[in-house]
Symmetry: C2
Subunit: 732 residues, 2 copies
């Protein structure tokens, strides 16, 4: 696994050149994106405010669109017609779309295609099948025009049509008069051709249906590469008929048969998604060596790794036997996987086994390699020849970049845009994963800010073309089939938008508004990111009455980066059923509270806006904390969150006290302020690898409560700025 450097979130200037080259930006876009942040907040009665013209819920936002007047009703008479080219893949795509449309609307449609193009509700015109096997150069463009008579989807390829069908479904609206699509003209194409999701099935195996439903979700947000990370220290997950000891001894019996691999490839292909396998070498290879210790750099025997981290085992790059095994295995895989690229990992080999192996040291001396990097470069060159023999292009992590690398190799960067730009300047294609490490539990907004081609890039247009896109990485240390969806979704939809939509689509509040809608729609595809949480809470509480625990879980998040393993050690065999597993990244409740608190403080000195809602939230925390505390005594699996339940009570009290001070315009004392801030610092400490996501909002309230007189005279914007400055952790 790659450790990304710090995420780059600084503001960037617009690179007009790149923009012009890749996009047709429609001016109307700006209007649609200028939704106020208060709109998606819950109104007093718990429903969502609805006002004005229909809000579009498209994600990713198309390259260009214009809303028109009118609407196309969706009724039981809905029919799809196909003009020009059509094939089985298109027909299956239409059938899937109709099933989802029918499911959402509870309308029954005739299953057959319209005989007459003119009477079809949706007419699809495409020109050809597209690439037999999805490729990097696949044409994914489409245009969609909806009038009050008909929707017309035009695309050069079936893949473009499939992308358009997802947009069609996202356009569905409903009101008193029934379901409809707003009249609109859309011209769409991706900004980047490589938009991927890495799923690591090495550390934890994921069953077929997990992969399938995630492919469904990828297609829904127009991602087009499944990067299937198939081998790791902790598991060798693909059947090799030629070297069966690899999977039989390296997988605990949890591997994909070749037939299953073909099933996934066909399933992905049906959705216009490439499947690129990764076989990580020479490091990350313990599971290979269980069956084949003879190609290891230490004598062995080896056992499947159960821990998390970076481990020593590495293939021996000095033996011909190693390359013979790789030739056999990679050749077999080259036949199995039709994608043009094969990922060889190449990362995080620390070379400790190499350092200790005298034969390897002698080999290096003989060859004149001055360090392990040179030895690994030699290894990569040998592997490259094997891939070339089997007609595959090489892709690997930053570490594979060295002088002899051919120009058709691709660099996947965990190091960041600078590393990617460096590769691009040298003429190498690259994709960005730094910034898209979804296993690190950062909020969607942070991933959304990461751009493979930042506005301040200094690449020339020519160089910039080497930046092919990016991939979200779902590393598998702490995910199970029950939890993986909630670690991938909905945040990955924001990354998908970054990789598809114009670079100026950056409005965070509107992204979150649309993300909530898309998140619901993903459920119809079988995704479990929402529904499994309550199930897990029920199991923990051993009761249907999960409301108090849910209140707590809604305002906490798993600890970020790689701290989980440090504060709550586990192995790959440990259960992933704790509160930390039920909790999700990017707390909606914390974000809403933050927005409400900002609006409340900006309403100084009246302090009326959201006061009721905020107070009720804090009261709910207090009531939940009390109930929960009793419940924890009956549910030993909850013991680790006892400190959190206690802190929730305190946070509620702190919040209510702050609101009371502000409401009365009666400043809190400095002593109170210091005591409460110290309490917040204490509450900010993780328990059970979980931490509160609401501390910044409470900090603001406490500061404001103490400074209410001083701040009273300012205008709201200045007021808010002052409080935020005072409340930021550095200033405390």
């Amino acid at each position: 696994m790659k450790k990304p450097l710090e995420m780059q979130t600084d503001k960037r200037t617009l690179n007009m050149f790149t923009m012009k080259k890749r996009l047709l930006i429609n001016l109307l876009l700006v209007n649609v994106l200028m939704i106020t942040t208060s709109a998606p907040l819950p109104a007093q009665n718990g429903t969502t405010k609805m006002m004005g013209p229909p809000e579009l819920n498209l994600m990713p936002v198309p390259a260009s669109f214009q809303l028109q007047t009118g609407r196309l009703p969706i009724t039981n008479n809905f029919q799809v017609g196909v003009a020009n080219f059509s094939d089985d893949r298109l027909r299956r795509g239409i059938a899937r779309m109709m099933s989802r449309l029918s499911g959402r609307t509870v309308l029954s449609f005739a299953p057959d295609l319209a005989a007459d193009s003119n009477t079809a509700t949706l007419l699809i015109q495409c020109e050809n099948a597209g690439d037999a096997v999805p490729t990097l150069t696949e044409n994914e463009n489409y245009s969609l025009e909806v009038t009050d008579k008909q929707a017309k989807l035009t695309a050069p390829t079936v893949v473009g049509a499939l992308r358009g069908l997802e947009t069609f479904l996202q356009l569905l609206q409903g009101d008193r008069d029934g379901f409809y699509l707003p009249a609109i003209k859309i011209q769409d194409q991706p900004r980047f051709p490589w938009r991927g999701l890495l799923i690591d099935v090495g550390r934890h195996y994921e069953p077929m249906e997990v992969l399938k439903r995630n492919l469904n979700a990828m297609a829904a947000v127009k991602l087009n590469v499944l990067h299937w990370h198939l081998t790791e220290d902790q598991g060798f997950r693909v059947e090799s008929k030629k070297l069966p000891k690899l999977h039989t001894l390296g997988s605990d019996g949890l591997f994909y048969t070749q037939e299953q691999v073909r099933e996934i490839i066909a399933y992905a292909q049906d959705r216009g998604i490439r499947v690129m396998p990764e076989f990580d070498i020479p490091g990350h290879s313990t599971s290979w060596l269980v069956g084949h210790p003879e190609v290891g750099s230490a004598p062995g025997p080896y056992k499947i790794e159960r821990g998390a981290g970076i481990f020593e085992p590495a293939l021996d790059p000095t033996r011909e036997q190693t390359y013979k095994l790789l030739d056999t295995f990679l050749g077999e895989m080259a036949d199995l996987f039709p994608d043009a690229y094969m990922h060889i990992g190449g990362d995080e080999n620390e070379g400790k086994q190499w350092d200790r192996n005298q034969a390897i040291q002698a080999f290096m001396k003989e060859k004149g390699f001055k360090d392990n990097h040179a030895l690994q470069a030699y290894f990569n060159q040998r592997v490259l020849k094997i891939l070339q023999k089997h007609h595959k292009k090489m892709i690997g992590w930053d570490e594979i970049l060295h002088a002899d690398l051919p120009k058709d190799a691709v660099i996947q960067s965990w190091r960041g845009p600078a590393s990617l730009a460096d590769a691009a300047r040298k003429g190498y294609d690259g994709i960005l994963s730094n910034g898209y490490y979804i296993d690190l539990i950062f909020p969607a907004s942070q991933h959304y800010a990461a751009d493979p081609l930042p506005r301040d890039t200094t690449l020339t247009a020519e160089e910039a073309r080497h930046v092919l896109g990016g991939e979200a990485t779902m590393w598998g240390e702490w995910v199970s089939p029950e939890t993986i969806d909630s670690r991938i979704w909905p945040r990955t939809a924001a990354i998908a938008e970054r990789l598809w939509s114009p670079p100026n689509v950056t409005e965070v509040a509107d992204m979150y508004r649309r993300l909530a809608v898309i998140s619901l729609q993903l459920e119809e595809l079988g995704l479990t990111h929402k529904k499994n949480q309550d199930m897990m809470l029920r199991r923990l509480v051993r009761s249907d009455d999960i409301a108090p625990l849910r209140t707590l879980v809604s305002v906490i998040e798993p600890v970020k980066e790689y701290r989980r393993y440090q504060v709550r050690p586990q192995t790959m065999l440990s259960p992933l059923t704790g509160v930390v597993d039920a909790a999700t990244p990017d707390s909606d409740a914390a974000r809403k509270l933050s927005q409400m608190v900002d609006a409340f403080l900006a309403d100084a000195p009246r302090f009326l806006v959201y006061r009721e809602e905020i107070s009720r939230t804090f009261e709910d925390w207090q009531a939940s904390a009390v109930t929960l505390d009793a419940r924890i005594d009956q549910s030993p699996a909850l013991k680790e969150i006892k400190p959190l339940a206690k802190n929730l009570l305190g946070l509620g009290a702190t919040g209510l006290e702050s609101v009371a001070h502000l409401k009365m315009i009666s400043p809190a004392t400095a002593e109170w302020r210091e005591m409460r801030l110290a309490g917040l610092d204490e509450a900010a400490k993780p328990s059970g690898a979980l931490e509160f996501a609401v501390i910044p909002s409470l900090r603001k309230l406490v500061i404001a409560a103490a400074e209410v007189h001083r701040l009273e005279v300012m205008n709201p914007a200045e007021w808010n700025k002052q409080v935020s400055t005072l409340a930021s952790p550095q200033k405390k």
Copy 2:
């Protein structure tokens, strides 16, 4: 599909003879079952009351058990040891149990078996593997003794051990001191050897994972037969390599490959579950005739049936070609399915095609058959010979019973216990399905009351031995992969208990208490009966804010019996995503309200017990109804429940008014009473194939409100009886 006669719910006298033969009833049982009905009710703070010694949550209740003093702690040191016999099936069963135990407790266990039997937390001693293929005569007995040192599971076969492992998991408890099992001695064996679940995949196809998770659930409640209803008018779901037109033309591409069939059989076998296929002939056979119209009784062509009901197409029993095809197909299936029995349906052939076919009429005349029943008997005799040739025993619905049927055939009764008893007297084995039709949306209590061997049976002991057990039937007209679990579970666990536990285990309130616990545990096996409801509501509302709709859905149920299709016609291609699909049978909220109302009225003339909770319930109905009404206008898929939302408001008002009258001991007028009762009659009418499950409770309250003075002087029991009598619909 079979239409069951009216369910038999009359009281029965204990058949001591049968009891003595089959059971060892432990006297302690009675104590455990005598739980008061108020215990499982929600207390004021929303948590479940806990008091006294640990309540056991075993389901099915074992044949005999004795609670002991002490407890066996479950910690990270938990280990399983195996003495005497062990095989891969047992080891896989242990691994599954440990994974679930680990998941529930969030404890990490060492994966290996204990090297030393003495230090094992759970020691399993079994004698042999049991039958290579699960059979009707499989020994499923086990005994389990838990002390504060060790749990010891003893069983003659691995299947018995698997049953015991489920009991072991159900014994898990937790409190302030951690997880533990109470000390206990259990001796257990099934009352009936045939305990099945029929899943109809003909009308709606169900993916592999649906079958697998339902097999998991079956094993959890000790069911042992999956009756796989594979062919129907609406679909032919199994691959035939010899007659491929059957599945390719008869299934819309939705069928199980033979490899998948073997996968299901192996999965079931791992759990000690038989897989018995059904190929329904000569009726229910439209899908056969799409590919093979030449064996139909009318010339065709045939199309896959899309409607629900009984259809005319039937195989032609007069042609040798028909038997040749059946010999080929059933022979192929006999090789594929190892179970000793093959189900040939035989039901609901109305013979209309036969009546209209002159050749068939001539054949009947020639053979001297005086009616279609005689012709079908001839057909069955021919099919029987085919099955015998392929070494299978025949099983079919009541209709197959005729004079020439061999004594090793089995009758599956949709007609009822009388029909079953009739067969038993004639010397035929039989299983009961009447009373277990879970597709009819009756409450668990009703199924629980149905007994294959009722207490008032007049069968001799010899005859009674022919009653082998029963099967719940999940007919597939209105179930999808999203909803099927909620139609099967948790109610089928009550049926499983009826078929396993001693006949005197009949306490309904305790059954429901345990059913709620088991229902939660089924979720850990992947069952979606609970979690899919919220998901479906979110899709309908297109929002996360489903509370108001959930309030409504919690007190309504789909209409019973076969009324759904009458009031809300659909085809097999229609979406199953409406409110009627999200709603579930056997409303918990209605049952709780009923219990609270009874306790409230029994508290006359104070009317304090549950008054707060009842009033809050009605207030919640009113608030939800108002919010929901607005929401319906934005969600066209909810339009069909607009009348229900309106009625929910009225029901809340009626309830609150009644409570007010009772609280003040101020009787309502006769006019008010008549108006409110008329309103309840109106509200009782279905909308969207849904109906309120709370009308009887409201009726009671209204009557009581009007009669409060007259009833005031009675004692609580008499009072309650009077009100109930007055409130029953017949008396209104």
